[in-house]
């Protein structure tokens, strides 16, 4: 009876795990090797800890795209024949799915497909920005922004001559917003990442957004890291623009999203010119069509939108609350177990409180250069990213040229963290004596 009780309690612990990772992993062809005949392979099984750069894709996503190509691929819009209609239907259905996923008030109208989050932000800069920003205006960013939310503004500022201002961070990797009211003076647009791809910090933007709105500024949220791992609600976030990418949330490459309030989209001039985005073209002018198509010149990434739709189906089946809970548990476990094992030899950048972070851990270990660390880890099948993570200004603030970043997603579990830990120890003993 006692042993039975014990088993029960183990079972219930297991059941308490928010996700059944071993079930999930079966949907990801890449992970078959770990479950399969490892000994036959000369390579160690993959421990994929680089989802913040790009996630893996489940079979469901790949087969949604494949089935599209195999049965009903045709160019969207304007096609009269049934296959083209079906292609259009699936494409537009994906659009509503994406819009509903982030709780857009008007999912079908406010969801613009781009090729990636970077293009989404550039779209805002080149249309809203070019139309509204004047010399003397201010765009307020943060020093933890990804280059995707810096360079478009730097380019436009060089052209127009407005000012760029930045929110600083604390040593714990949190935004400094004590002096926000003052910082907001003259600001027309606030651009903030919802989650830092280096520090993991989650930025609560809704109060920042309220203050920004009171000051007459619009708010652009970079959701590239946040949307894949958190329940996202643009209405609760209180932002005006939201940009994110498909490939970081189980979707394919080649697809990104810009959500924006309808009123803003309608005011904005078109972005790229060409087919699909016009109502009429004459030799001396043209009439843009309705939103969201006004911003989608040329043949859109059709299969990719459908793939992203399938990714969202997959995530919603799991439940984004569960995804968040899972990442939180895993990050807590990683922070605890790594700290316990390596003590002061290991530093984790960003907030000490796991609940303030997403699934990203930037590590400094024993002074070993991040690229060397990643190289050694790769030998053990552990995939982490080393570099500046497209956040050079943040690297300067942290005083490092680069970091080694491990990131988790729905297919990672405690075992992956243990493998990471073991591989770190190996790197430590290889390079150990180099530390002075």
């Amino acid at each position: 009876m006692t042993s039975k009780t014990k088993l029960d309690s183990i079972d219930s612990t297991l059941q308490k795990e928010p996700l059944d990772v071993s079930e999930i992993r079966k949907d990801f062809p890449l992970f078959e090797s770990r479950e399969g005949a490892i000994s036959e392979s000369t390579h160690p099984p993959i421990t994929y800890l680089d989802s913040a750069a790009s996630s893996q894709q489940p079979r469901q996503v790949l087969s949604a795209m494949e089935s599209y190509y195999e049965t009903t691929h045709a160019n969207v819009h304007r096609g009269v024949y049934a296959m083209a209609e079906e292609s259009t239907r699936r494409f537009e259905e994906a659009r509503s799915k994406v819009g509903r996923f982030i709780n857009a008030p008007l999912p079908e109208v406010e969801t613009v497909f781009t090729k990636n989050a970077t293009e989404s932000i550039n779209l805002v800069a080149q249309t809203w920005g070019r139309r509204n920003l004047k010399p003397g205006d201010v765009v307020l960013l943060t020093i933890m922004e990804h280059h995707a939310n810096m360079v478009p503004w730097l380019m436009l500022a060089a052209e127009i001559g407005f000012e760029l201002r930045y929110l600083e961070i604390t040593d714990d990797g949190e935004l400094v917003i004590d002096d926000l009211e003052k910082k907001l003076e003259g600001v027309r647009l606030v651009g903030i990442t919802l989650m830092s791809n280096v520090l993991g910090t989650i930025n609560d933007i809704s109060s920042i957004a309220s203050m920004a709105h009171r000051n007459g500024a619009v708010v652009l949220a970079d959701g590239a890291q946040y949307v894949p791992g958190m329940p996202t609600d643009v209405q609760a976030l209180n932002c005006d623009f939201l940009a994110f990418s498909g490939h970081k949330m189980l979707g394919p490459t080649g697809i990104g999203v810009l959500w924006a309030r309808k009123s803003l989209l309608e005011e904005m001039p078109p972005f790229l010119g060409g087919g699909e985005m016009i109502d009429d073209v004459r030799l001396d002018g043209f009439m843009p069509t309705a939103v969201p198509w006004k911003f989608e010149a040329g043949t859109p990434p059709i299969a990719e939108a459908i793939g992203l739709g399938a990714a969202i189906d997959y995530l919603e089946k799991i439940g984004m609350d569960k995804v968040r809970e899972h990442e939180l548990k895993l990050v807590s476990y990683a922070m605890n177990s790594l700290k316990e094992r390596f003590g002061d030899d290991l530093t984790i950048h960003g907030p000490a409180d796991p609940s303030r972070r997403g699934g990203v851990l930037s590590i400094a270990y024993k002074g070993i250069h991040p690229h060397d660390l990643a190289q050694v880890l790769d030998e053990y099948g552990v995939c982490i990213r080393a570099g500046h993570h497209c956040a050079k200004p943040l690297m300067r603030r942290l005083g490092v040229p680069a970091t080694a970043r491990a990131s988790v997603y729905i297919y990672n579990d405690h075992h992956d963290i243990d493998v990471l830990s073991e591989a770190l120890a190996k790197a430590g003993s290889l390079f150990g004596d180099a530390i002075t």
């Binding site: 209609e85 259009t88 239907r89 009429d280």
Partner: protein, 170 residues
């Protein structure tokens, strides 16, 4: 071929071949309204003569596909001589016949449509629409719905403008 026969019913082809009320009216007194279908570039032009809150005369010009042309022709026949309020009622019914299906067709593939539910949802009885019911088959071809509603949108816009002008000159 059943879908196709549903779309191109004999009445539709007849109105396409022999459009009723084809032509123009002098403006003023008539009102001229253009409706443009950006999907194909076709255009329906509606000329409206309203006297004593009645559609005294109506003419159709422009060019387009068999659906847009026959729909305009059928419409002209149906509203000519009618009170504005009756015409508006007809516009509502016609658009309901098209749009209920339209929104359904957009969110679910046509095979998944629940026929019973459709009938229940329809606010208007197609039987009450006379010859116009012939256009019901269009809803199975979502891209062609715009063809069918083009002239009706023009009519609605024309009536709006006429009533607005009447109100502001009061």
């Amino acid at each position: 071929m059943s879908g196709l026969e549903d779309l191109y019913r004999e009445i539709i082809l007849d109105h396409y071949r022999n459009p009723r009320n084809r032509g123009e009216l002098d403006t003023p007194p008539a009102k001229r309204i253009e409706a443009f279908n950006p999907l194909c570039g076709d255009e329906v032009v509606v000329y409206l003569n309203v006297e004593d809150d009645k559609i005294a005369d109506i003419k159709i010009a422009g060019q387009g596909c068999s659906i847009s042309q026959s729909s305009a022709s059928l419409m002209s026949q149906a509203v000519k001589g009618k009170d504005i309020s009756a015409a508006r009622e007809l516009i509502r019914s016609f658009k309901a016949m098209m749009s209920i299906h339209e929104s359904k067709l957009e969110s679910t593939s046509s095979e998944e449509l629940d026929e019973d539910q459709q009938v229940e949802d329809v606010v208007v009885n197609p039987e009450a629409m006379g010859e116009l019911a012939a256009l019901q088959g269009v809803v199975k071809f979502p891209v062609r719905i715009k063809c069918a509603t083009l002239s009706w949108n023009a009519l609605a816009q024309g009536l709006d403008e006429i009533e607005e002008e009447a109100n502001s000159s009061k």
